[in-house]
Amino acid sequence: MKDDAQARPASQGTWVGRPLERFEDEALLAGRGCYADDAPVRPGTLAAAVLRSPYAHAQISRIDAARALAMPGVRAVVTGADVEAWTSPFIVSVKQPMRHWCLAVDRVRYAGEPVAVVVAEDRYLAEDALEAIEVDYDELPPVIDPVAAAQPDASILHADVGSNVVSDRSYRYGDPDAAFAEAAHRVRIDVRYPRNSGTPIECGVVVAEHLPGGAGYDVLSNFMGPMSLAAVMSLALRIPAARLRLRAPRHAGGSFGVKQALFPMIVAMCVASRKAGAPVKWVEDRLEHLVGATSATGRVTTLEAAVGDDGRITALAWDQLDDCGAYLRAPEPATFYRMHGCLTGAYAIARLRVRNRVVLTNKTPAGLVRGFGGPQVYFALERLVQRIAVELGLDPLDVFRRNFVPSGAFPYRAPAGALLDSGDYAAVLERALASAGVDDLRARRSAARSAGRLYGIGFAAIVEPSISNMGYITAVLTPEARAKAGPKNGAIAAATVAVDLLGGVTVGVDSLPQGQGHATTIAQVVADALGLAPQDITVDVEFDSRKDGWSVAAGNYSSRFAGATAGAAHLAALRVRERLARIAAGALGCAPADVVFERGKLFARSNPGGALSFARAAGNAHWAPALLPEGEMPGLRETVFWTPDVLAAPDGHDRVNTSATYGFAFDVCALEIDRATGSVHIDRYATTHDAGRILNPALADGQVRGGFAQGLGAALMEEFVYAPDGSFRSGSFADYLVPTAMEVPEPAIAHLETPSPFTPLGAKGIGEANNMSTPVCIANAIADALGAGVDPAAIELPMTPSKILALVAATERMVSR
């Protein structure tokens, strides 16, 4: 009975929790989606093409666009000079004299940096004209390796800053030094996390129009937020935020964080429209997207643990160096600080030392990529846990069990400030072992090994933060600087529920979905609150900053939807329900509290027979305001702004609760390495989650599978490669390999549900866990397959066949010796 989920629930049942098929799908399957490049534009809209730097680091001594301007159909060429005249550099979250403009001014600092924009009558003509722009570059020495870039003798990217290290902060919680001094063992790991990306199949699109009379700009784009960046864009354009109208179309072709990085191009296209005197549309192509859009932050980490004989970790010491690329573009250095409060992961470790340095290199600026900060942290932390087991000769499962935050200890305050809201990590682990069939896997490993094959099992335990504290980034400042700047905190979500003149319900949300199915889930949530069916609810996920309720945290990131946005929609629907109950109570002859909403009807609890239809009850608010009870406003439209109470600003000791909720995932991977080819065959992959209350299990599993595929790509295939001269080597999908259906196995998925006490529906995020857990879980399995002799630092992502072959050869040499 596959259609059960679509049927009306029994009177006690809820729509939330059912694997409802998506309302989005019919239009998308029929090819009738409206993505950004499909949205209507005004007649006369011009096309933009972007000239990008071929050099990683160079001084621009001359730009001459005369030949380009003389070409057919070309209407304008925008360069750094225009940008200097009409905009300001983007603000940076560390106080440094670094000037980042939407187009290069005088100097280019990464291959792919935008240098000029051609505006022409169509895209083909605009691209033709790019070749006619003459630019003279005086090459400067590039800085590619982050460790080298941090050295005092490195070539400097931003002369005014005087160093490539733009932030260097140390933190101390508890007494880590004493723990290290007393520890029976110190276990250390050195790892690097590569630059990679989510590469949505739809690239960026911006349509910008400069409005006359100082009215600012109207922008349609597939930018995904966070809307805090509206402030960055408005300041750069030197206009009030209200004069930058940002709109998003009905559908978006994926983002995975990366469309956050569209904002500089929004500013560039606003300038282009101003110069051309007409609306301008830019559609990013794949080469531009790969070379110039964004990247996950590369990281070099040394992580050390103080460990007892039993594997109990008493302190951690992190030394992290982030490669943020050529500019510290907002919201960087957030890759560090999103995870700051929970740097102790799933473990009860009271003492912690952290040093975070941000270094700039001649690479594309880094930014949001699904998992944001998590893959970097867990690649170090979970490799370390594996090393503890190896070095102390323990079963890794015992190391987890002995260190987990105990089951009864939630909400649990981690030393750096995370308030882990709920969970039962030990129970998830046991469930995961059953789901994976770990005894069977161990038997398979023994059999494979005795036959001389390379078979390994890896584990990873990760805490998945969701609903980011908008104040976490201020943890990069010293407490004194923070006090001066004023506190920042919270994670405001907004939703509007309106009932129209025929009783129809429309919901607007601030989540800028990129394909996850928010409209379906919101319909389930609101249907429950109002006693309707999801089919009755119209959900509007288009966004218009002029008309919708939104605040700084709006957008599609930090897995904020289920906990925050759906929660706000639930609260807004409850408000409408309260108002309708007051309006209908008189006619139903009961107190408002006794009005029941069920199956499209309202009735008094004591008299189910005397029901009023929902539409009839709602109609009064529109058609007969005179009949409204005393004090009741006409109309039925409620907007709720909700922020989690638990998100305070960082305190005077640099403790910060970086996210409102923290889910948990435990992964098990068993794989075999082919000695001859270095390729990896995943024998089994099991991923077990606790994301609080699950709103739609089919969509939740869809998030897990998608995150898993991306995690697998990060583990085995994906990397933005730069040549020593800084040129970019990953400019196509033939060079930047992402997993196809041939590489992605089906993971075994299981769930436990420990509702969050801090969100309206008890939900937490689920979409980023596997981006955090899967790369390191696979790496741990590879390390296990290669045996204890393998150099732990040589397990470097992505584990391509050539890297693995080299390690197989090294272990074979060791054995033969």
Partner: protein
């Protein structure tokens, strides 16, 4: 052989999803751009413009091909089928319905191309193995789904069509 000169507009006539359509374009215009921007078939998606992602796949004279690798003028006089032609009278085809049932799409950007390849594939392979489906899909990139639902949907439709005696082959 017909000669084309740069800058000149050419008339291109195709049978698009069963209807005769024509438009004008330069000789260098890609078929994907022609279908989208000249004929308005915006269900044809463009994800890479270099022949790897498969989002732009359409069926030309019965064979699935990437419209970003073809010129519009080369399609003159041909039969072109896109995602717009799969549903009949606003009822989704069995394949489209299976995609919805199996949650085989999230953002839906890769989906039109995959639907066209799968349509072509199932017409040739009524009883495919999972391995064969995955090999066919390896010509497409999906960043959202991990492919599980897509594979399941295609296998499900193949089985359903076999049960019904193949009468529904789209």
């Amino acid at each position: 052989m017909r000669r084309y000169s740069r800058g000149e507009q050419h008339r291109v006539e195709v049978v698009l999803d069963g209807r005769s359509r024509e438009g004008r374009c330069e000789s260098r215009m890609l078929l994907s751009d022609f279908l989208r921007h000249v004929l308005g078939a915006t269900g044809v998606h463009v994800g890479c413009e270099h022949g790897v992602c498969g989002a732009c796949t359409v069926i030309v004279d019965g064979v699935a091909q990437r419209s970003c690798l073809a010129l519009a003028v080369a399609a003159d006089g041909r039969d072109v089928r896109t995602v717009h032609g799969l549903a009949r009278d606003d009822v989704l085809s069995d394949l489209q319905q299976a995609f919805r049932r199996h949650h085989a799409l999230q953002c839906g950007f890769c989906t039109p191309g995959i639907l066209m390849s799968a349509t072509d594939f199932l017409a040739r392979n009524p009883a495919p193995t999972e391995q064969a489906v995955r090999e066919m899909l390896s010509g497409h990139l999906c960043r959202c789904t991990g492919y599980t639902g897509i594979v399941a949907a295609i296998l499900d439709v193949a089985a359903l069509r076999r049960e019904r005696g193949g009468t529904q082959a789209a």
